[in-house]
Symmetry: C2
Subunit: 264 residues, 2 copies
């Protein structure tokens, strides 16, 4: 049966991984906390933190006894401001991460093939442009201690039963189609997909599921391009604030504003 | 270090379990889908389905190739109408479940100590009154195939860093305190806590974490009762619709309304 390959063992399993999915309601953004809990330092990273939930995230990091080392971004978001800038002000030594292809400023500019270690665990970088020109997907590594099934943090490249729009920030529907098919759909079918957003309350999917049920990316390339060309979406209300801020990983604030997280 | 006991292996691990957490934004309710994916029928259950997300939930069940056998409720909710009634209209053979102590109508009335099997997996019922007089917590079983760490679906008995209010529906702060301390805090510290709600975007906690950081339930009983007596919460706007509907597990609708889920 077609569904058999992705319906077993739907949780990432690792003796080392601590994992938390976090949700920011206003922009429907998921932030992900990953840590190597078996390492004496408990090194941790956040993927796609949001400025409005910085206090919540840092308080959780503290309660869990983790050492936050990276605030990572999958891409230059247009719908919210990244939390990486505010966090850098509050966590000494914390490094912000974004792709070199995004042409943004950050402490570490990563590209396809890079490995980002936290303790004995690591994430691999895959280039998945198309929603923006600098989008990447972070995928947990392969190896005895790494989570099984693998986990893919896809940003807006692929969403659960959807995908990010392709009509600004260097977006290209053709490029997005190629990215998903070559970089995500080639992962094992049980790979868990953790997107940057969900608007219906779904929290996770799998590569196998999206290969069968994604209403856009299961189509052929021409149909996909047609769908994406005819979405008739409105101009994102946050884009003129969010994009410039995110191009510097949230560091626009530092001189202008008091060093306080916006509470929600 | 105090946090060590709950920061390893934070995902439930089982070769058989398929698990999905689902969120309903308006009432900030979590619905949980569990299935035995290794069983030929893939029997599945939903905990605390919401009427507004019935279509979403059933569509996921179908795509995953599952056979939904139970629509379970942790208690008579005051903030939303359960999806169990609408689902019974759409899924032949589906049985609704609630506690006998809730004095509600359902296909199966469960009580403390009952085991609810789905394939080779099962949930145990623990009585955790105090938010309402009929609140129960469903806890995954112990045994070689059962998820490890265990998972506790606590309804509103304990929330992440909080708990349900105790000022209506037979609520009692003393009873809630006793329920949490005797029925939940006695579980292994790495037991995952999946509540019926979260208002800050947190998705899961552990018994160990709540024993250290729950701002209410870490207090002594007298302080807890004081806190609960002085919350000054307003009257829940949905209660006069939700409680009567939920006392019959959502079956109030069946003759009065066309058999269609409210879409959100
Ligand atoms: Fe985006
Ligand atoms: Fe409730």
């Amino acid at each position: 049966m077609a569904s058999a390959s992705f319906t077993t063992s739907s949780q990432p399993t690792s003796n080392k991984l601590l994992f938390r999915q976090l949700f920011e309601k206003e922009s429907s953004t998921y932030t992900y906390l990953l840590a190597d809990a078996s390492h004496p330092d408990k090194p941790a990273l956040l993927i796609d933190p949001v400025d409005k939930t910085v206090e919540r995230d840092l308080s959780l990091v503290k309660e869990l006894g983790l050492k936050l080392i990276y605030a990572m971004n999958t891409h230059v978001h247009a719908d919210h401001v990244t939390g990486s800038g505010l966090m850098k002000n509050k966590v000494p030594g914390l490094k912000s991460i974004i792709s070199k292809a995004s042409k943004s400023k950050a402490d570490l500019l990563i590209e396809a093939g890079d490995k980002i270690y936290f303790g004995d665990l690591f994430l691999e970088v895959r280039a998945t442009p198309g929603h923006t020109l600098g989008c990447v997907t972070y995928v947990t590594g392969e190896g005895p201690d790494q989570p099984q099934p693998r986990m893919a943090f896809t940003g807006d490249a692929i969403l659960i039963r959807g995908c990010g729009r392709t009509d600004f920030q260097g977006g290209s529907s053709q490029q997005l189609y190629e990215s998903v098919h070559s970089q995500i759909f080639t992962l094992p079918k049980d790979t868990l997909i953790y997107p940057a957003h969900d608007y219906k309350g779904l929290t996770v999917s799998t590569v196998g599921e999206e290969m069968l049920y994604n209403p856009r990316l299961t189509k052929d390339e021409e149909s996909f391009k047609n769908i994406m060309a005819n979405l008739n979406l409105s101009y994102p209300k946050m884009i003129d604030i969010a994009v410039p801020a995110n191009m510097v990983c949230g560091l626009q604030d530092i001189s202008a504003k008091p060093v306080e997280a916006t509470s929600n």
